[in-house]
């Protein structure tokens, strides 16, 4: 192992350039460790975002050697196979500065996909009893661990060419709620996720599945939404005056 690693880091916003730094190597060093070293010891003006450092908060995602990754759980050993690192902000999002992206659109699309819970009971009602082996509960559980890091959104080519497309994370979120027995918002949710900016825009290229650090399958969720929206369309429940 060489004593240092050469790291090219994006500086600027939409317009900018890569700046190269030499960073000392450490055992079990993560990409986030490298970026943090640069900011703490070489250039304090470097902007990036992180919080938990342990793969829970989803705020440290960046493009590492051309692929979107969660940097806190990405070991330098695994990605810097030629001894160099190139770190850029996530694709498909507006860059605020250096490695920090504006996540507003990403989270707005969660809202547009009706990714919020529509309760059907009040605090005075009894608990909902849903068996652990319930089919819909299993479907919801398969997608519920999303940490909102935006890696799938950056990996998606459909988002790249169709800026209105809701994207894998928002549709995955919608799918978990479609399968939530306690939720009463499916009619407006299915109308919100159907169409050429929703689940029907997905080409099943599975870039999201390939890159999701939590090993979720948004493609599976989107396929489920296609199925449920089809049933709703046949019943004429998707509205829109069509």
């Amino acid at each position: 192992m060489s004593n240092t690693i050469k790291v090219s880091v994006w500086r600027g916003a939409k317009d900018g350039e890569y700046q190269t730094f030499d960073v000392p190597r450490q055992p079990s060093q993560t990409v986030l460790d490298v970026i943090t070293y640069i900011q703490r010891h070489i250039d304090p003006t470097l902007s990036y975002r992180f919080a938990c450092r342990v793969g829970v908060c989803g705020s440290c995602a960046m493009t590492v050697n051309g692929r979107p990754r969660w940097t806190c759980r990405t070991h330098v050993d695994k990605v810097a196979t030629d001894g160099t690192l190139t770190v850029a902000p996530l694709r498909n999002l507006e860059v605020v500065k250096d490695l920090a992206c504006d996540m507003t659109t990403f989270f707005e699309k969660m809202n547009r996909a009706e990714g919020k819970f529509h309760p059907t009971k009040t605090r005075d009602d009894d608990f909902a009893f849903i068996k652990p082996d319930d089919k819909k509960r299993k479907q919801a559980a398969a997608g519920i661990e999303c940490i909102g890091c935006g890696v799938c959104y950056a990996a998606c080519d459909i988002v790249d060419w169709n800026k209105d497309y809701l994207g894998p994370a928002a549709l995955n979120r919608a799918w978990t709620l479609v399968n939530d027995e306690r939720d009463g918002g499916n009619e407006i949710r299915l109308a919100a996720v159907a169409g050429d900016a929703g689940c029907h825009a997905c080409h099943s290229q599975q870039g999201c599945v390939e890159h999701c650090p939590k090993h979720l399958s948004p493609t599976h969720a989107i396929t489920g939404l296609k199925r449920e929206t089809a049933k709703a369309a046949i019943k004429g429940l998707l509205g829109g005056g069509d």
Partner: protein, 118 residues
């Protein structure tokens, strides 16, 4: 989402027609491959198929499935890859559907009539 109902129904129609096309293409190609094994050429196959009402129905279904499937797919491609408006791509879809129906049924009816001696 605007157009959710129509977009989803078009998606359903395209998937249903794809299922029909899968069977049709299998039967169509399978029959050709089977027939040429015995030494029949295209003209001889057509002679045997034309005038048969069941083959007429089969190819009519084939044409209907193509007329549904292809225009919806072309519309989606145009929506994604060109700056054409949704109204324009809808029009292209409708025109393409008509063209496929007219050309397809002209061929299928011609094939049937040739064998039926009409």
């Amino acid at each position: 989402m605007p157009g959710a109902q129509i977009e989803t129904k078009l998606w359903v129609w395209q998937r249903l027609s794809a299922a029909v096309l899968g069977v049709c293409v299998f039967v169509h190609l399978g029959m050709i491959i089977y027939a040429v094994q015995g030494g029949l050429n295209a003209a001889e196959i057509i002679t045997r198929v034309s005038g048969n009402f069941l083959w007429f129905v089969f190819y009519a279904v084939f044409i209907l499935a193509v007329a549904v499937h292809a225009p919806i797919g072309v519309r989606t491609i145009l929506n994604e890859m060109t700056p054409l408006s949704p109204k324009a791509t809808h029009l292209v879809m409708a025109v393409l559907c008509l063209v496929i129906l007219v050309m397809g049924f002209r061929a299928v009816i011609g094939l049937y009539q040739a064998g039926a001696g009409l």
